[in-house]
Amino acid sequence: MIGALTADVPRPSTEDRSSKGRGAPQLHQADLELAHAAHRSGGAERVRLVERLRCVPRFIAVLNERQGRPFDDTSLEDLVQETLGEIWRRLPSYAGRASLETWAHRFCQLVVLDRLRAKRRRDPNVPIESAPEPAAPAATTLDFDHVYRALERLDPRAAAVVRRRHFDHWEFDRIARELELTEGNARSVYHRALARLREILEPLRKEARL
């Protein structure tokens, strides 16, 4: 399962390498230090990391509910262990661009979706919904998972601007201060990011309409 999943899981390590030297934002420095310290050695850091990763079973339980409870408690426990194992394996590549919880949430989504697809292959009656609420018109033709993937393909700085603007509802002046940009530059990065997202998503959208 994990083997099949790894192709789907975000690849922050690759992004990290490409972003170094370009002044890529690291917005969650404390999380980054905690993650790397906990991976290198045990002790207090690992205890703190375990505490932070208690969000994993919670996320998985919520995702299961949103999907109409396709998994029983035993399967959920398997999913929790699988996800934690994958998170641990990828921890050295965590770049601190999102909080640990947000980063872990993405792993939970991918593991649940992956397992759900496998279940569906065995039983086509199992529903698969990666967009739990048809809240946006675009989402009716496009999987939310595609949007996540498109965000992961953005330049780290552009992804950070988009995330701060939409996920944290920050104004451009605050984004600019945090990323050490002028406000005009922050706006420019944002609009270029939207154009790039459109470029990435357009072929997928056409595919989805077919």
Binding site: G42, V62, E65, L76, V80, L84, R89, A136, R187, L194
Partner: protein, 193 residues
């Protein structure tokens, strides 16, 4: 780029569908996080610590194994690099093991005995492949016989010759082994009265 709100508004309208999708995605993520915060009873909560510890132990084992293998590879590399430097080009080559325990014959004179009624032959043991030279001298050192016998390990002596020899003789057999090494065995023999 610009601080013009009109221009921004224009771009946002053009990208309205993308903007809506991002907002929807953010809303779903936020809702899930809020719901998750209320799920203290989620299945697998008790597995978080043990799973992380198990994964950490496994990765420690892999790291130790990789480290050990690196050390072995480094040691092999050092030996490979240092060997030509440490080797003495003048050193005497060490030959293959040899000796009677490996099936090679011991070298030594067997006949005649130290007291012999008749000197009719001289016989010795020695490895095949060696070359032998036999010399017989008087007690004062006069050479009475010298014969290169090749690979033979026995020579016959004629009575008409040996009868002229003194009462005591020194027999010497020189062996030149296949690798060029030389050995000599000797024996004094008296004519029995």
């Amino acid at each position: 780029m610009t601080n013009d709100p009109q221009a921004d508004r224009g771009r946002e309208l053009r990208d309205a569908d993308i903007v809506q999708m991002l907002d929807a995605l953010a809303r779903v993520e936020r809702d899930e996080a809020e719901q998750a915060a209320r799920r203290a009873d989620a299945p697998g909560m008790h597995l978080v610590g043990p799973t992380i510890e198990r994964a950490a132990r496994a990765s420690d084992r892999r790291r130790t194994w990789r480290w050990s293998m690196s050390l072995v590879a480094l040691a092999a590399l050092v030996v490979l690099i240092a060997r030509p430097v440490l080797e003495d080009p003048e050193a005497t080559p060490i030959g293959a093991p040899s000796g009677e325990y490996l099936g090679e014959a011991r070298f030594g004179i067997e006949a005649p005995a130290e007291t012999a009624a008749l000197w009719d032959s001289i016989a010795w043991q020695g490895p095949a492949g060696a070359r032998y030279t036999v010399r017989v001298r008087s007690a004062t050192g006069t050479l009475l016989l010298e014969r290169d016998v090749g690979g033979e390990r026995r020579i016959e002596l004629e009575a008409q010759t040996t009868t002229t020899w003194p009462e005591t003789i020194e027999i010497e057999v020189e062996m030149i082994a296949a690798d060029g090494a030389r050995s000599i065995d000797s024996r004094r023999s008296e004519r029995a009265r």
